[in-house]
């Protein structure tokens, strides 16, 4: 299946959002959105991925 992860197209075998985070090797302190909607950490395992999904994974960054 092909998804878009942080703006880049990616082939994945991950079934859920939690699997994808593990597969991509993200650190623990991140937040996620699927197709523009926030997915709380507790719902990542229950969030099945579908072909074409746009996934955003964000982390703490410098800000003003």
């Amino acid at each position: 299946m092909t998804i878009v992860l942080n703006g880049e197209s990616r082939e994945t075998r991950a079934a859920t959002l939690a699997d994808l985070l593990h597969e991509a090797g993200f650190g623990p302190r991140v937040a996620t959105a699927r197709n523009g909607s926030f997915v709380p950490a507790g719902q990542r395992m229950a969030t099945a991925l579908q072909d074409g999904d746009r996934i955003e994974v964000v982390a703490p960054m410098q800000g003003g």
Binding site: R29, G36, F38, A59, P60, M61, Q62, G63, G64
Partner: protein
Amino acid sequence: MPVFYGVEVGSALMLGTAQYPSPATLAGAFRSSGAGVATVSLRREAGGGQDFWALVEGLGTRVLPNTAGCHSVKEAVTTAHMAREVFGTRWIKLEVIGHADTLQPDVVALLEAARILSEDGFDVFPYCTEDLTVCGRLVDAGCRVLMPWGAPIGSGLGLNNPYGLRSLRAHFPEVPLVVDAGIGLPSHAAQAMEMGFDAVLLNTAVAKAGDPVAMARAFALAIEAGRAACLADPMPARDMAAPSTPVIGKAFLS
């Protein structure tokens, strides 16, 4: 010291964490200034986020995540939810940008996002203009802090509309007010504090100084002086001179 949503912070200086020449300089600026709040953001994770978080945790300040770069209600609300989870705080500096060149807020979208987030249990710090009506509506929407700009973000122009800011202070005596954005010099920060603002939020003026650690200290001193001056009840300004030395008793020498 200012109290935001029931939390007293240790300093009236709120300092951004962006644009420093190095992480060590960032940490040095927080140490030298004693800033009470650190603003942070969320961006796509590209490997640096976890280290940055460790650095911020080490600062020992309250953390205020922003929604910088958001241009719509949906983007800002989604970002706020992500920030609440990542940073473990209800505080959110709500930015909904309406204009590319000036980065001035889209106050209509800001108001809508502020209402949604306040109802969702967030403590909203809205980046707004000094417009009295907009600010009144933000308070009605649940905001217990207002953060009008001094000048466009990153411009360093200072307080562009001192009349408007004074007027805002007078109209909302009970609401904590923060001048957010546009501060370039410690004297600008002192001016805001002399007017009775509760705090000042700045980033570029420190981060882009030749010596950010020393400039952060200069801002802390100016803010302390401005606050002390406000509490000391400054004299009213007047157009004509008024001699300070007694006129009576002057020797007749001509």
